[in-house]
Amino acid sequence: MSHGHDSHELPHSHQKQYIILGVVLSIVTFIELGIPLIKGVPELWTAAKEVWAPLLVVLSIFKFGAVVGDFMHLRTDLTLYKILFVSPLFLAMFSFFAIGSLSIVHFHPFGKGYAITAQDLADGYVPPATGATAEPPLADDKFEAAFADAQKTSFAKGKETFTASCASCHRADGGGMPGLGVNLSDDCYKHGGKIAALYTTIAKGVSGTAMPAWQNSMDSEKMRQVAYYVRSLKGTNVAGGKECEGPKE
């Protein structure tokens, strides 16, 4: 089975197909780019609200398949190569969704996480209230501005609350004070350092110690903000902070 290298033995050229495929992929990309622009046409946008995001996903899967199948020739190449490439691809997607389902438990302590999206609020999502009455969801038109504003200010507000209510015991930088508040800038927590645990400690206080239950004087939003601020202090290990108390996290 020996082959010469005469021109008639050369493999068939795919030049034309490649160029056509390039044009097709460009058109698909243009369509993809057009989809976010549809938002500017509210009638069209709302007419098929559920369609746009899945459409984007389908188009990108098409592009993915075209490049792998035709540019990389996997469609017509050996099964061995297909197995080598496609099985890890599925494994990757599987672990993606597996970790994704875990993350809902760990990273969304308040059901929806800190950065509540515009969509959530529009859908009527209300942060869980601890005692305080929750406000009704904002009207759609006020919503975008309020959301952007909230993102910018809430972290600053958390810091503000900390300075006003907590610094007297925990020190302005969270380093803690002898005989008063513990160090919040290390990695040690007596009552848990995860955001949900911090929130609970702040809300319920620690009975038998100086740490007050703040749910009596703060609403849930305020406690959320300060909880995230406290979480951000973790590991900053400010100079002159109190020694580690409680298990390391």
């Binding site: 089975m1 020996s2 082959h3 010469g4 290298h5 021109s7 033995e9 050369l10 493999p11 050229s13 030049q15 490649y18 160029i19 390039g22 992929l25 460009s26 990309t29 993809e32 780019l33 989809i35 976010p36 938002k39 746009w52 995001a53 984007l56 996903v57 990108s60 592009k63 993915f64 490049v67 792998v68 540019f71 990389m72 017509t76 190449d77 050996l78 061995l80 190569y81 080598l84 490439f85 890890p88 691809l89 494994l91 990757a92 997607m93 672990s95 993606f96 970790i99 994704g100 993350s103 990273f107 969304h108 996480g113 800190y114 950065a115 509540i116 969509q119 993102q151 972290f155 951000s232």
Partner: protein, 217 residues
């Protein structure tokens, strides 16, 4: 040497009779190509976890800026097109090599490298703008989950493109010096093409899921 031009065609069933070629393994396949597919399989998991991490932390940043504040659709679209076109030129380069036209192949390879370099250039500009003007920090006390995961994910992709550009340039030099000739050795160009196309598909995923879907929200 060039007597075995067919080993690198994608109609690989023709290649099976060539187990005697030193570069081919016992399956009669070019080792280098087999290795590249295995490597790309592992790269799927690598980028899968980077993109996954980005999404699991998405919306959990304690402080801004948020994706919507920093992304600009214009610059990203341009780099997306550059990379897409580079996939076309890469495919044409591989094809020319298979057609035993090394100089034509070299032209396309250089074109691919140029497009790839532009992509990296745009990314550098983007990162610089994000960092200095939008205050999106990668690490340290002012970092956010968005910043860290975004820079890690897109940074690794950019690194892959950079490695690809260097590889393309080395190959074009080898072709110029006739150290790489069509025929059996053209499989080296084909394998480089596989890597390059893979880098393109990673970007297809990032572009849609990270950038475009953000604008739908």
């Amino acid at each position: 040497m060039s007597a075995h031009a067919d080993t690198l065609t994608h109609d690989s069933h023709e290649a099976h009779g060539h187990g005697a070629l030193s570069e081919n393994n016992f399956l009669g396949l070019p080792n280098i190509k087999l290795a590249m597919w295995a490597f790309l399989g592992s790269e799927c998991m690598f980028f899968g976890s980077l993109i996954g991490t980005y999404f699991f932390y998405h919306g959990n940043s304690l402080s801004g800026p948020l994706p919507k504040d920093v992304f600009s659709i214009g610059i990203t679209s341009i780099s997306t097109f550059l990379l897409l076109m580079s996939s076309v030129t890469m495919a044409l380069g591989v094809d020319a090599m298979r057609q035993q036209k090394p100089m034509k192949a070299r032209t396309f390879i250089l074109l691919t490298a140029a497009l790839g370099a532009c992509f990296v250039g745009f990314q550098v500009v983007e990162f610089h703008e994000f960092y200095t003007e939008k205050h999106l920090v990668f690490a340290g006390p002012n970092a956010s989950l968005f910043g860290s995961t975004f820079y890690t994910m897109t940074g690794f992709h950019g690194t892959h493109v950079t490695v690809g550009v260097i590889w393309l340039l080395i190959m074009s030099v080898l072709i110029t010096k006739k150290k790489l000739v069509p025929g059996k050795e053209a499989v080296n160009v084909e394998v480089m093409g596989l890597y390059w196309h893979f880098v393109d598909i990673v970007w297809i995923v990032i572009f849609t899921f990270v950038y475009l879907l953000e604008f739908l929200k």
